[in-house]
Symmetry: C2
Subunit: 261 residues, 2 copies
């Protein structure tokens, strides 16, 4: 189950905002057994948004965007998504009720800008926003799931957890994600590399990734991350422990030490 995440907003491309939304979503999805294959940050430009939505739908089973669902002129995601899907952009009844109720309950008028937050691609499901106004958008298209969430982290997380997570659980690959991270002190990454190569070949279903945290030619600290998806969590955890035993031997032979985190 391949996922693309689309992060929409000029603030990401001028370096004003660090894309924590994408990493939060990526972690959530990974743990559920989905495979995030791409994260794309793009500006608030309708043509670009349409193009990237289409590319994502062509290449992934699930597409999740963040940003661009608010009331202002630079919030273009909903209409662009309708165009990408060749659907009309219409008032969604559930979204309309939700948005109207939120404004009316505090004595605010339902202006055109506010109504915009209730417009969605035809046939979309509105995802309730318990932390703000603009509802999320879910569209089933061609056996795929296309979801648009707001860019405000608090609202994005609330809609994901309240509304989306349950829907995703139903289609999740029912696989577990198992990971283990160890810190290796005193063995340069380049010394470790050929040993890791051998482990990669010996355990082909495991993914190994080393992150240098110290200095290659000074005090070397390497964070080694071992991870995999599995149907059988117990068996995989035993395998992971065997790998860690082998690693301990390798590191000891190279006069380093291993610290489990």
């Amino acid at each position: 189950m391949r996922v693309w995440i689309i992060s929409i907003g000029n603030e990401l491309l001028i370096g004003k905002v660090v894309n924590t939304n994408a990493s939060w979503l990526a972690k959530k999805l990974t743990v559920m057994g989905f495979r995030v294959e791409r994260i794309v940050s793009i500006p608030d430009d309708e043509e670009v948004i349409i193009g990237v939505f289409r590319e994502a739908i062509d290449n992934a089973d699930i597409v999740i965007s963040t940003g661009g669902l608010g009331p202002t002129f630079d919030d273009k995601t909903s209409e662009a998504l309708a165009k990408a899907l060749n659907r009309r952009w219409v008032l969604n009844e559930d979204a309309y009720k939700e948005v109207k109720e939120k404004f009316v309950s505090v004595g605010m008028e339902l202006t055109e800008e506010r109504l915009k937050m209730a417009k969605m691609p035809e046939g979309a499901v509105s995802l309730r926003n318990s932390a703000g106004v603009a509802p999320g958008i879910l569209v089933r298209y061609d056996n795929k799931l296309v979801v648009a969430l707001p860019g405000v982290p608090r609202e994005m997380m609330a809609i994901f957890e309240d509304e989306l997570e349950g829907i995703l659980r139903e289609i999740a690959p029912h696989k577990y994600y198992v990971e283990e991270t160890v810190k290796i002190m005193g063995v340069p990454e380049s010394t470790l590399a050929p040993y890791i190569d051998k482990l990669v070949k010996k355990y082909p279903t495991m993914y190994f990734k080393s992150h240098p945290k110290g200095r290659e030619t000074g005090l070397s600290i390497i964070e080694l991350h071992i991870s995999t998806y599995t149907q059988d969590r117990e068996k995989t955890m035993r395998e992971t422990r065997r790998i860690l035993d082998e690693l301990r031997d390798i590191v000891a032979r190279n006069r380093g030490k291993i610290v489990e985190k």
Copy 2:
């Protein structure tokens, strides 16, 4: 001058690491007058890296990648870049000297894995890494600049500032980037929207973006970001001050207040 940033590394796609490299680079480049049009995060997969490098070269004048330059099997950027450019992947003389010196000076042997860090696409310029071992890679291709930097933030920043920034300054559009951010309290974003629309039309060279920080139907706090590129910094700053005066009027009429940051 359009820029694409390519962030390479599975750790980004499983949500283990937040992509601060991309936002750091985006800010640096924006301030120099470049326009970052896309940030793409992809896994350590050679075919994917080749494909995205080619797409980036087709769509941008400057392509900068981070990650995948180390000594291990999962460091695939350099060889993938050579393939993307249809160039041979060869030992770079300057890189070889730098890498060799770094290992030899601490009494370490130059193994195959270590030598890998000195291999680059044919014709590349090696960018010295003062904070680690793996040099950066710069390739001039088809009037475009393709640069690969390490993923370790300290090393990425060191190479950018020591080696790359000077080269980029020479081709920078000599435009200034002017920005102003104000905080607007007590006016909902949806109330402000039609006024902002008018300002957008009145000042077409200015980019307006509002970031809701409070609650639309509760205490509303909006950060309004006004920015533009210009050749004439003084004139643009005067214009920005005029816009702020108009904004102050609008906000006051809607019983809110404005706080300059």
